[in-house]
């Protein structure tokens, strides 16, 4: 049986941090570390989770943790794993927690290299869909239509013009041993995936949607609900890639209302009917592909 709220390690390894109230990223980091335990060595590049976790001398990780360069999460994980292995130490888990910018933009090359070498590391991308720590700039994981400080909503351009990069399938296309998507709105699914990943040798990648109340323009108590809703309305999906096969873990019987999901967030409030139709169309196309190429479980 897999872990759940009752059986999860009671210790806390990410505590007293300075993330905003209701931060989805901090929830993802906290839960992953409860699954992985004290023998995990966490690497955090520049981004919110390092900024809120290491305010010297306030150090909020109860396990070994280190800040990497913005681009270097995966290469530092590689070095940690190789260094400990060289010393004959084997009972540890090298785990990275990088943002969407740190993963899909600046850190992509290092991550691709690590997967290519099949280094024995776990890379977790907490995706809050923008560069939050520097004040909400667009990344390649910002969804279509979202207002950020570099994709403002005005008369002519209504937020981000580009669709969200398909990071999960880009990683899977390397032929990685294990990759998965997740959401802080479905924590039991995330727990299962972290636990599974920790038992696989080679490179593992988990991409978790982690809403940011500050950047998304939602109340602090809505983080978990909105992370559930993005899955329920079909704009995100829970899946795995293993042994060369794509698996869909969760298939909503009927999608909830996309417009309702969008209009709850101030970053989408400017969208027109037409924009919302565009978003629905791209969702339907995505699900056509998912239904065709992904096995259900």
């Amino acid at each position: 049986m897999s872990l759940n709220a009752k059986t999860l390690n009671e210790e806390e390894f990410f505590y007293g941090h300075k993330a905003c109230a209701g931060c989805g990223g901090s929830l993802a980091v906290r839960i992953a570390l409860k699954v992985l335990g004290e023998r995990s060595i966490a690497v955090l590049p520049a981004g919110c989770m390092s900024a809120v976790g290491f305010n010297f001398p306030q150090l909020c990780f109860g396990n070994n943790a280190i800040i990497s360069t913005f681009a270097g999460t995966a290469s530092m994980l590689t070095g940690i794993e190789a260094g400990l292995r060289a010393q004959g130490i084997t009972d540890f888990q090298a785990v990275g927690f990088a943002g969407d910018g740190g993963t899909a933009d600046i850190g992509l090359q290092a991550l691709s290299g690590a997967i290519d070498r099949n280094d024995d590391i776990l890379y977790i991308c907490y995706d809050n869909e923008a560069y939050m720590n520097t004040g909400i700039q667009k990344s390649s994981l910002t969804p279509f239509g979202a207002k950020t400080t570099t994709t403002p909503a005005g008369k002519n351009i209504r937020g981000n013009l580009r669709p969200k990069k398909n990071m999960f399938e880009i990683v899977a296309a390397h032929g990685i041993p294990y990759a998965a998507t997740a959401s802080v709105g479905y924590l039991n699914d995330f727990i299962k995936k972290v636990e599974k990943a920790s038992k696989i040798r080679g490179t593992k990648y988990i991409h978790i949607i982690a809403p940011c109340p500050t950047g998304w323009g939602i109340p602090t108590d809505e983080t978990v609900n909105i992370a559930k809703e993005v899955v329920d309305c079909g704009l995100w999906y829970l899946a795995e890639y293993e042994n060369g096969e794509y698996i869909l873990n969760h298939k909503p019987k009927e999608f909830s209302d996309v417009e309702e999901y969008l209009k709850k967030q101030s970053r989408f409030r400017h969208l027109t009917e037409e924009d919302i139709e565009t978003i629905k169309r791209s969702r339907d196309l995505k699900w056509e592909a998912l239904n065709k190429n992904f096995r259900n479980n």
């Binding site: 709220a5 007293g16 109230a21 906290r30 150090l59 924590l187």
Partner: protein, 96 residues
């Protein structure tokens, strides 16, 4: 190990190591002052399902005799616990 608030805080620069590595889980400040509202748990209503404990981004809800309790030193008052509680055992009270 759960990071904890230290009794004795470094007072002088010389008490802080002059290299970039330091003890894990070393807390010197609380987060309580961030809070406008505080979650109050009704122990009569609580059924101990632990969903609030699971979903708290700050990890400040802990198991307490089959029910739960809150570490108010580090709770930020986000209200996620209240929304997640199916039996309505959590009430948000204004901080005075």
């Amino acid at each position: 190990m759960k990071p904890y608030l230290r009794d004795k805080l470094p007072q002088k620069l010389s008490e802080i190591p002059d290299f970039t590595a330091y003890e894990a889980g070393y807390l010197v400040t609380k987060n309580a002052g961030w809070r406008n509202v505080r979650p109050e748990i009704d122990k009569e209503k609580c059924v101990g399902c632990l969903q609030c404990y699971l979903h708290c981004p700050d990890g400040v809800i802990y198991k307490d005799n089959g029910k739960v309790a809150v570490d108010y030193d580090f709770c930020k008052g986000c209200g996620i616990c209240k929304k997640i509680c199916k039996v309505g055992a959590i009430r948000m009270e204004a901080e005075k």
